[in-house]
């Protein structure tokens, strides 16, 4: 059987299979792990085979041709699909341990459907396939986010209502573009839109505007940056990494697949070194990352905090893409992978914390390093990577994006980027300080380290981020293929060095790691030759000479975690009112929600109804086309 088809069929079949044995949770999740393992392996073997494809002719005609649903193994799609399935594999391993009696979310079958649509999106060759998979992805994600909890269902509805806008603009866009290009093929539609740009500028802008809206909504770029804070926070803890790292990339993938080639090939009015629409995109990315960073700094719920952090990171990626330069796109793709790795590591370690403590508010936790040192270490390396600190992977991609922005003289965008990444430091450290460091509250005196099955994927992620940081070639080599596939002329990248457009600014990361290690050794020697240290109890602290217990100051009451950046926040209070789109977004969302809840009643009763929905939507769309 065609391997492309296998990629789709395996998750689909197992999805229905696992539905039948939903009661045996461990088995279900093990099957899930096996499927993701298979997918990762299959995708790995597919590297370099860029001629793989699969198509099926549907029995009716449009635009004078037979309508075809087709898949193709493009380097870009492979790049995203491979790293997505790798992430899924690691999450799956985590999920086996996570979904015990207490934390069971029973979402494995739907998740498999989601993976099915995930593969479909990344390998779709025509708009029809793309749309079906896109719609399937949006809907299945809704069910996983809802996962049978009252509050989650609310967040999921919010997510669904926002997604509905996205899918409807996508549908409209597809209809318009297909009409224009007389085919559903994506490649052809790019060329026809490029042509349209030279004849009717504003119409073309409207066409790509529809697509951009869809992609921005999916990636939660300004002005749609609000929904992740709800959806990510309320979804199952083991699903959040997938939602945050893989699903936020669909929009990015869409932008690279469709928007970038159009902007690159068209003759557009320029602003400085780059075209105006691209600059607009960069500005949107900049606004997103700045706002999301500011909002993340003030969160008390750790999952919400990292939801905003994800939004900010996607903002960086969009900024990198908008430079339209090789270095920028390289950086953006690199950062997409990095974001998958470090954000998965972060969310998994937080899931481990939630698994052990059942608490999501940062200020109610503290001092967990005493009990969960490995989780702490994973989280630490992940945030070092997320903050873009060398020698870990996050640095390389951020550095590439910054270099690209500077080379293109996008001055204020790059300042926004630096603001966001310094701000990232603030919120990342806040979570570190509040959750893992500080005083361990009495009620967590006897919690344990995360179970082995959780520890393994976390450790792998930790090593992965270090490996990529030291040897960037692991990622830059596949990126070369992607860029070549997109029509850029690139020199083959080296294993150790990353290049930029600026003069004399290349960076050898392996050397950097080496230098840093030598510095570490010097520092360690200084530490070792100096006097001995004695370990003391956590409450044995400077308390101005007072005995804290005489003042009823237990460790619970000796931990500064709430209102961590309160003085800073007061500076922003007037502004927070303004940027809190949440109010109008939620009022808007509520209207859609009401409409959708009437609809959703039909199929929330049983999971099997999803299939009905699929078929119904497919018929609807195709019927609309006729």
């Amino acid at each position: 059987m065609n391997i492309m088809l296998m990629l789709l069929v395996v998750p689909l079949i197992t999805a229905f299979l696992t539905m039948a044995i939903l009661k045996h949770q461990k088995t279900v999740w093990t099957i899930f792990l096996a499927v993701s393992g298979y997918l990762s392996y299959a995708l790995f073997t597919m590297y370099g085979k860029w001629d793989l494809s699969w198509s099926i002719e549907l029995g009716f005609k449009m635009f004078g041709k037979n309508v075809v649903l087709s898949l193709i193994n493009s380097p870009l799609g492979w790049f995203f699909a491979f790293f997505a399935s790798l992430t899924t594999l690691l999450i799956a391993m985590f999920s086996i341990a996570y979904n015990d009696e207490k934390h069971d979310s029973k979402t494995a079958p739907i998740w498999l459907l989601l993976i099915f649509s995930n593969i479909g999106i990344f390998f779709a060759k025509d708009w029809l396939m793309f749309f079906i998979m896109w719609e399937a992805m949006s809907t299945t994600a809704y069910f996983i986010i809802a996962h049978g909890k009252e509050i989650s269902a609310k967040a999921a509805k919010f997510y669904l209502s926002i997604s509905l806008i996205g899918t409807s603009t996508l549908l409209l866009g597809i209809i318009l573009v297909s009409r224009l290009s007389q085919t559903f093929d994506i490649g052809v539609s790019i060329d026809s839109l490029v042509k349209l740009f030279s004849t009717n500028y504003s119409a073309a802008l409207l066409y790509i505007g529809l697509f951009i809206t869809t992609f921005l909504i999916k990636s939660a770029i300004f002005p749609f940056y609000m929904w992740p804070s709800k959806a990510y926070a309320e979804s199952p803890d083991d699903f959040t990494p997938f939602l945050s790292t893989v699903m936020s990339k669909y929009g990015v993938y869409g932008l690279i697949l469709f928007i970038l080639p159009i902007l690159a090939k068209s003759d557009l009015p320029m602003f400085g070194k780059i075209s105006q629409p691209a600059y607009m995109l960069a500005v949107l990315g900049a606004i997103t990352s700045v706002l999301a960073t500011i909002l993340a700094i003030f969160q008390t719920d750790m999952k919400k905090l990292f939801a905003y952090s994800s939004v900010a990171n996607v903002g960086y990626i969009v900024m990198g893409l908008a430079t339209m330069s090789v270095v920028g796109i390289q950086g953006a793709l690199f950062h997409s992978v990095n974001h998958m790795i470090f954000k998965t590591a972060i969310f998994l370690s937080l899931a481990a914390v939630i698994y052990r403590t059942g608490e999501r508010d940062m200020h109610k936790l503290g001092g967990l390093v005493y009990k969960m040192p490995l989780t702490f270490l994973v989280y630490l390396l992940a945030i070092i990577s997320a903050a873009g600190i060398p020698p870990l992977s996050g640095f390389t991609s951020k550095w590439l994006i910054v270099q690209a922005l500077m080379a293109q003289k996008m001055l204020f965008v790059v300042v926004a980027m630096i603001f966001a990444s310094t701000g990232a430091f603030m919120y990342l450290l806040r979570c570190l300080a509040s959750v893992f460091l500080g005083q361990l509250p009495d009620k967590y005196k006897d919690i344990k380290e995360a179970p082995l099955l959780m520890a393994i994927p976390m450790t792998i992620l930790m090593l992965l981020t270090l490996a990529i940081g030291v040897i960037p070639g692991i990622i830059t080599k596949p990126i070369d293929a992607v860029l070549t596939g997109m029509g850029y002329n690139v020199e083959p990248s080296s294993w150790t060095t990353v290049h930029t457009a600026l003069a004399k600014s290349d960076l050898n990361l392996t050397y950097l790691f080496y230098v840093f290690m030598v510095a570490c050794v010097i520092s360690l020697i200084m530490y070792l030759i100096s006097g001995k240290q004695e370990k003391i109890d956590q409450i044995d602290n400077y308390t101005a000479g007072e005995n804290p217990l005489e003042w009823d100051t237990t460790p619970d009451r000796f931990n500064f975690a709430y209102g961590f950046y309160q003085p800073f926040k007061q500076m922003f209070n007037p502004m927070l009112d303004l940027i809190s789109f949440e109010r109008w977004m939620s009022s808007f969302g509520r209207i859609v929600e009401r409409a959708s809840s009437a609809l959703s009643l039909l199929y929330t009763r049983s999971e099997g109804a999803i299939l009905m929905l699929y078929i119904g939507i497919a018929i609807l769309i195709i019927g609309g086309m006729m």
Binding site: E534, D540, Y542, G545, E546, N547
Partner: protein, 204 residues
């Protein structure tokens, strides 16, 4: 409680100190950081010695904010019972090596507060003292002189009160408990008359 006599033992140790110890002792003596803690009125003469006129920073002595960073604890004057408790906690929070200087007559025998119900008479019974300065209050010159003396003692390895505290912890702990861990009134008169007031209070 047996108190080890240090005088002889130290003199014996003096000769066979290693070179490394001598070097550390020199550096330590040149960089004594004192804890910024005004335990009593003697603290009033600290600002002058720290500031322009006497400028103790010449000798590398600077005030430090917390006991973790400090080398010297200054007991500036009388120690009330409450303060004594805090002094002991502070002293125990200081890393070794650490030294204590007691200021003024009231730290030796209570001074003019000898019969007060809330001041400790001899501070040396509760924590070990390296040097005591006489006077009420000691003049800045005296303090400066003491500091220099302490520097010399540190350099020669004579200032070992912290060692004494470790070795005779039982003695010090017993004295501290006598002061703080009181469970019953000390004077007989209390049991007769104070009870009335307590019941009166609870009725209200």
């Amino acid at each position: 409680m047996q108190i080890i006599n240090y005088a002889d033992e130290e003199r014996r140790q003096e000769d066979n100190r290693k070179l490394w110890d001598k070097v550390t002792a020199y550096f330590r003596s040149r960089s004594l950081w004192m804890l910024h803690y005004c335990t009593g009125c003697g603290a009033m003469e600290l600002p002058p010695i720290m500031t322009s006129r006497w400028d103790i920073e010449r000798f590398g002595i600077v005030p430090m904010a917390t006991p973790r960073q400090a080398d010297i604890l200054l007991l500036t004057g009388y120690a009330s019972t409450n303060t004594m408790k805090r002094i002991i906690r502070t002293y125990e929070q200081m890393p070794e090596p650490k030294w204590v200087i007691a200021f003024g007559s009231c730290t030796v025998n209570g001074g003019m507060y000898w019969d007060s119900y809330n001041t400790v008479n001899n501070v040396g019974e509760y924590i070990p003292i390296d040097i005591t300065i006489a006077g009420c209050m000691p003049r800045p010159e005296a303090i400066l002189d003491t500091m220099v003396k302490l520097m010399n003692m540190v350099k020669s390895g004579d200032a070992k009160a912290f060692q004494k505290y470790k070795d005779n912890y039982g003695y010090y702990k017993a004295n501290q408990d006598k002061l703080f861990a009181r469970t019953a009134p000390v004077l007989e008169s209390a049991s007769l008359k104070y009870v009335h007031n307590e019941t009166e209070g609870s009725e209200q």
